[in-house]
Amino acid sequence: MNALPLHTVPAQKTLIAIPAWNEAGSIASVVASVQEHRPDADILVVDDGSTDSTAQDAVRAGAQVVSLPFNVGVGGAMRTAFLYAQREGYQALVQVDADGQHDPADLDRLLEGLTNSDIVVGTRFHPESMYFVGGPRRWAMVLLSKALSWMNKGTISDPTSGFRSAGPKAIELFAIEYPADYLGDTVGSLSIAIRQGLVIHEAPVTMYFRQVGRPSKNALWSALYLGRATLAILATGLKANRTPREDAS
């Protein structure tokens, strides 16, 4: 696979993976801002079956683009990115959202964290954070965080964060198995990594608010959310610990 001439391979190959589904409004500026902060890294936009100009805009902005034939969800898009990273020999991958809520200035911190861990999760909960959630939604997230921190034997305060980095071991693992179900791409993937004995740390990141506001979440939503999150953890946690299947690749 890695038939690359040696002189084109930088010492530390880093891939910034941006899963995007109909993000034509923001993708170009996200790519540009990532390029500005990490000119050394390659940028891969995984176009998850977009029906707008997301793919073209990303190409024009200078990113490498792979297009899925139909929408498979963030989990499928991310596994595509991990497969790409594995085949092209990248040693680090950072996932960044396409809607511009992640600050590329935090990329350095997420990548530096990989020197002593396999996965670094960018947490939106820290003293200087502007990010705030309240009410039942907050309780649901706290419970999730407690469960995963307990499994991890180390704090994961924001397990649903999609701003995270992965080292070589995590790339190998996620290229084979990355859950596609709801919350599987965030909570479920962490659960898989913990079970495989990967070292997970976290780093504080800045979170910008989405342009399009989410509808307010009520207690019913939170209960449902918790249920689905529990399912995501159980589905991955209870899975027989088999060696990765060959038919998966």
Partner: protein
Amino acid sequence: MTANILAGAAALITFGFVFFLLRRGALREKYAVLWLFFSGAALFFAVFPGALEWLSGVLGVAQPVNLLFFVTVVLLVLVSVQLSYELSRHEMRIRRLAEEVALLRDEINPNRQERDGN
């Protein structure tokens, strides 16, 4: 007796329909065989109600019809679970293929950046 005729007719229609689908190649053998067996068994018990009564007696079921319902429900549940299993497997495979298609399409893209070797 009319109930038996009704059941027998239903079994016969099912049998005929599955056979028709099989001939058209619209149903794979492994599923067709299953349904042919079910409808064949239903037809058998419709024609020979005594067989069902005898079987109920052997198994200690007071009402023969309860045995029929019980076995039917169990079999249908098993088939549903089996179908969910197949469906999940296919969804996973389709997703994997979609990912692979995306990567292959990129590999043959003449405008692909980097990899300037060729």
